[in-house]
Symmetry: C2
Subunit: 386 residues, 2 copies
């Protein structure tokens, strides 16, 4: 095999974009093996744009056709786990879209099945992991350059969406159709980066606003308080109603601090001695000297790195890395099994707000599933008018 033949399940916005990337040669180790969509209009689109590519209206048929080595699941979130399992079952490599699923129960089933097929490649579309800025931040933290983490704080409210976005389709921003709002649709990128860089919290308390500034059933604003169980804490804030949104990620550690502004600029402060040593040895006179215009150079060195935005190339980079893993074993940037962490965080944040109390991770899968079914039932009885 010199190029991976990718089967694209779902020719919507994402699937269409991925087909375009491959057709334009942006993913040099991939070709479009086949396209699948249940919508006849998409069949016509495919016939016009990709006349030589086989088309299926049933993804199982595509999986069994021999036309594809791998698939990507550009379908509603709920379907990612089952499609991933069906592909792997037929020895077809699987790249699942984010989030890996809506609830951890289904994602765990996917992960458990994938673990029985270690010879197959199982990836997830965490395109932000190809972002050099976050790779650098992860490297600094992993190297221990800022010491043990004391506090994380991410305000990521740049996910502005107007009401028209939510009104595009009936399933959008419903419990039955998407299983959540900003937590399952926009913020999974940051939920993944946060846990990738700082690890998973042990406990979560949240204040979640459902249909606060938009006419939707699901959440459009989230404030979550994280407890890492070792003294460290965190705050995660996201929303879809701030058109002047903030993107500011701060990580404070025993020996330093990282501040990421607008996913573009990283400011790293490395203390010259651990903070605990400064605390043990400095007097209030020293403190007064520093804060009344003294030189902070004695305390820490500061490094500022600016990054170009690489938004456009991220998705094709994940696809290329996924194909390279299939072809020559190149390590995966985003192993599929990592997808469960962001889903677990989103589930914990929902559940805490539903129960009105702090919850421990991992949350009770069955309890989350049952509570989600209640939301779906309520929504059927009292649909949000659009």
């Amino acid at each position: 095999m010199s190029k991976v033949r990718l089967g694209i399940i779902g020719l919507g916005a994402q699937g269409g974009a991925y087909a375009g990337f491959i057709a334009e040669g942006k993913v040099p180790n991939m070709v479009i093996g086949a396209i699948c969509d249940t919508d006849p209009e998409k069949k016509a689109v495919a016939a016009e744009k990709y006349p030589d590519v086989p088309f299926y209206d049933n993804y199982i048929d595509m999986l069994e056709s021999g036309d594809v080595d791998a698939v990507v699941t550009c379908v509603p979130h709920y379907l990612h786990p089952e499609m991933g399992i069906e592909a792997l079952k037929r020895d077809v490599h699987a790249l699942v879209e984010k989030p890996a699923g809506v609830y951890t129960k289904q994602v765990r089933e996917l992960n458990e099945f994938a673990a029985t097929k270690p010879e197959l490649t199982f990836g997830i579309m965490f395109n932000q992991r190809t972002n050099e800025l976050y790779q650098k931040v992860k490297q600094i933290v992993d190297n221990g350059e800022i010491g043990k983490i004391r506090r994380t704080n991410w305000i990521i409210t740049t996910w502005w969406r107007p009401q028209g976005y939510y009104d595009q389709s009936a399933w959008r921003a419903t419990w039955e159709g998407e299983g959540g709002g900003v937590l399952v649709n926009q913020a999974p990128h940051q939920l993944d980066l946060l846990q990738w860089i700082a690890g998973m919290p042990k406990k979560v308390y949240s204040n979640v606003k459902y249909g606060y500034q938009r006419d939707i059933a699901v959440e459009d604003e989230v404030t979550a308080l994280l407890d890492y169980g070792n003294g460290a804490t965190g705050v995660f804030i996201t929303a879809t109603h701030d058109i002047m949104g903030t993107d500011r990620f701060e990580i404070h550690g025993d020996n330093g601090k990282i501040v990421v502004d607008d996913s573009k600029k990283v400011t790293i402060k490395r203390l010259r001695k651990p903070e605990s040593e400064m605390s043990a040895t400095m007097s209030m006179m020293d403190v007064a000297k520093i804060f009344m215009g003294g030189d902070t150079d004695d305390l820490y060195e500061e490094e500022v790195i600016e990054f170009e935005s690489v938004w456009g190339a991220q998705h094709s980079a994940v696809m290329e890395n996924f194909a390279a893993n299939i072809l020559d074993g190149t390590p995966l940037l985003a192993p599929g099994s990592d997808g469960i962490n962001g889903v677990a965080l989103a589930n914990a944040i929902h559940l805490s707000s539903w129960l009105g109390k702090e919850v421990e991770l991992p949350v009770d899968e069955d309890l989350y599933f049952d509570e989600l079914q209640k939301k779906i039932e309520e929504e059927k009885l009292n649909p949000i008018k659009k």
Copy 2:
């Protein structure tokens, strides 16, 4: 009366500074009427520095001496309410140090008594209210320029204190001596500014770390999640162990946003139309245009104002304003009765962490008082070794 004769109760760091301000003429409408301290060493200091000023070792004697028109209470927090009441009872104007007290029960008693003496001036040393930056921010919010508040977020971790600060005296950072840590000693300024500008929340949930990075019984790190009861939320974070501390205050409203960096720079974004109107009328195409390098000038105008630090002059400005209110009725910048709000917030944050759940404001005063007594008892049994 042409100048107010101030009685200074407590000639420690603050009381000594205030005496200096008056002696240096920085408070033109005040003279030092008398000084009071229970410590004989302070008597010697006063005799040397202010030989012509009457000295008392009992504040009641000073209140009844006829030497003073007003007093300022530069004594441990627990004593502020009782000293305020004793002064007002004797028709002596009272300027209480912040915080107004340790628990709302005692502060309410002070406020209720002060309300029976409307002819007297009752102020509190919220020196940050004289800061032009925060006056400007309050004015913008009060004018409705950013619309109804949706979210507040203040990370104020610039209150770094080394272990040596806590070890200066036995009562420092104990439940019995101070009744708390960063919430009652350093952050009352920001707790007051936050409620002054954005109003009081209705509910609070907190994660508070006691003796996390310092060898103390009380809190050195606080994360509080505020709910304003009308959909709006807030986060308040403070700590004494971040030597590269952050000071970033963000207020997001229906029609704009204010970001205050380092208590020096204010960035104000005023939307050209309310966000709700933009949400109702913009398509995802419009959104894509804006976020893919379009001109945000169409959305909002941005104003940036930089302020000089005025730290040194703040305390004398409060004293001058307090004296002016006595002399000619100039409106008080910081009425004493406002002091209860910051104490109520601090109490709610403590109580939420002690009970492990969200609490409503105002908190149950007796419950808070009882829980505080338990901390004091525990501390007696298991004192933190220093």
